[in-house]
Amino acid sequence: MTDRTLEIGCFQYDTTQPLFDGTIPADSLERTMETAATLPEIFERLIRGERVRHCRTGPDVLPEAAGVGSAVRRAADLPEPGVPALVRLRQHPFRDHGTT
């Protein structure tokens, strides 16, 4: 892992699974993929990451899948620009985790 390695957090949907299983090689974008039991955990890591970043060295890069609303709501004080890769629409597969 280099200091250009992105930490990308998102759920393992069928549309993102190729990022996790190596189908999409890392040469175009050096990255590590992370997920969590629930989506809010991923959102929270990004948002709270602003504090972590100040005391971290090395890869402190954290694009993440986020609710559109969360991004808009944060935009007033800490804009997190969107990348229009709209990972999943409408229905979540993991009901038991109470994800959003």
Binding site: D14, S28, L46, V72, A76, G82, P84, A85, L86, G98
Partner: protein, 230 residues
């Protein structure tokens, strides 16, 4: 009107914004004339603590009681309705106390998409602004990578269907795929601004109309500039 309605995580959770907005547009729904209870769907949980929870002063919003889930409270009648992207457990278990607001939801949703061109979106990718400043072209690299992943997944789906190695137990999957092909053509999940502009602008309008943002945001303000041409 005058009902107690559950919503997951926060007043203004993405699926709740969509549901309220569509009901406001099509049925004259008025969120402020109901009481909103925020909590966990299947597991007791406090409202999200990592984002602000703005809501208009005239909307009554409260936390669900400690240790309770919205699914259980719907089943027992402690809440009258639940706005959720996920089907609650009580519904899956066939509770006689709970029914869908729109039993014919699939045909209604497909008709809504045909009328409006909108297939409601809940998630996008966001990146830290300081990082995008430091690394020119990063947003495009991330976008292309996610597009490649989606394309690979779609090809995997087509390949498996041709070989009848569909990785699901769902019967009549071919019929569903054919209905979706008819509705969405080749790309069921288009990424990028142009293909989603109407959907995204509608979401931002709902967000503003529901008092969750202080002004009506434009797409140009919330997406990386280099990706506005996607």
């Amino acid at each position: 009107m005058g009902r107690t309605i559950g919503e997951f995580g926060t007043y203004g959770q993405d699926s709740g914004v969509w549901a309220k907005g569509i009901l406001m547009d099509d049925y004259g729904f008025e969120p402020e004339r109901n009481r909103w209870l925020i909590g966990g769907l299947e597991h007791p949980s406090a409202p999200f603590g990592f984002i602000p929870h703005p809501h208009p002063d005239n909307v009554e919003v409260a936390d669900a009681p400690e240790g309770r889930t919205l699914s259980d409270m719907l089943d027992t009648g402690e809440i009258d309705a639940l706005f959720s992207a996920n089907v609650p457990q009580c519904m899956l278990e066939g509770s006689a106390n709970v029914a869908r607001l729109f039993p014919e939801f699939e045909s209604l949703e497909r008709d809504y998409h045909r009328r409006t061109g909108i297939f409601p979106i809940m998630h996008t990718i966001v990146a830290r602004r300081d990082l995008l400043r430091e690394r020119a072209g990063l947003a495009s690299d991330v976008y292309r990578t996610f597009c490649a992943a989606k394309d690979a997944a779609a090809e995997r789906c087509r390949h498996n269907r041709r070989l009848y190695q569909v990785q699901t137990m769902v019967p009549w999957m071919n019929a569903l795929v054919e209905r979706n092909n008819e509705q969405f053509a080749e790309d069921w999940w288009p990424y990028g601004i142009s293909a989603n502009r109407a959907t995204l602008e509608t979401y931002l309008r709902y967000h503003y109309e529901q008092g969750l943002s202080s002004r009506l945001w434009k797409l140009e303000e919330i997406f990386a500039p280099e990706l506005l041409v996607t």
